[in-house]
Symmetry: C2
């Protein structure tokens, strides 16, 4: 599939005023531009962490970066789940449904390697009005390195 055929990432459907996030905003020139997509009923993002984001010991990702990847993928996933539940397409002409994190719990199960393609997955646990609960996993080479649960709230624009 060429880049021109690739589906547009959730984050690339955000209006410009919501697109400045260091982790995933397309309009942050110094950020990481994490991209999240559908994968069946789940969501997925892929990211390889550069060497400077190590923890205390070189070669492994620092805990805050693991939380960052889960946070950005989680709020993007919450929006995607809300759009799908409403029968809408993210980025359509209606009011934009942007979610923000109310709480995030991360369990660190094993060290997350630097320089390896990480896979971050999201699964909808519940959607109740403006509140979405999303289960998150971060994998390296098929092994789960971290697990998260996020409560995200739809932002009042």
């Amino acid at each position: 599939m060429s880049a021109a055929d690739a589906p547009v990432a959730f984050q690339d459907r955000y209006p410009a005023r919501f697109s400045h996030c260091w982790g995933c905003g397309k309009d942050n020139p110094r950020g990481h531009h994490l991209k999240s997509h559908w994968d069946g009923d789940e969501t997925v993002a892929r990211f390889t962490v550069p060497p400077e984001y190590s923890g205390g010991v070189p070669g492994f990702v620092f805990g805050g970066m693991v939380a960052s990847l889960l946070d950005c993928h989680g709020t993007a996933s919450a929006a995607a789940f809300a759009y799908r539940a409403a029968g809408r397409e993210m980025g359509d002409a209606g009011d934009f449904m942007r979610f923000v994190t109310a709480s995030l719990k991360v369990e660190y199960l094993r060290p997350t390697p630097i320089g390896t393609a990480l896979v971050i997955r999201g699964r909808l646990v519940s959607l109740d009005g403006r509140k979405a609960t999303v289960a998150l996993t971060l994998l390296a080479g098929g092994e789960t390195c971290a697990r998260g649960e996020m409560l995200a709230i739809q932002f009042r624009d």
Copy 2:
């Protein structure tokens, strides 16, 4: 107090092999060098987030950065609490007690401003063998923006 008189930060007492963290390692040339200190029975760090680490909306810190500040201050605080409980001085000649995050829960109570001096505080909840539970708060202008709880485990060196 001159810089020469300032107490040495917890992170500056880590051995070189543990000092590469992007958030707080003294030996990471591209990192943030967060510094944590004692404040009575609690611990404190101060940090002003640069503009590029915004969330979707400019002017406010992205969620992953809030988690990062709590994570780095939390593991440093866990080590400090363990040293104090053992009647030892961090960085003494004995085996170094470095802690890693097993889990971190962050509650986002209000948006955290960019460009404001943030105060991150740590309080020991419990210390049981190699396990430390630390309560964390992040404040801006005296208001609590985020609250966290960390379970940290002493690393087997």
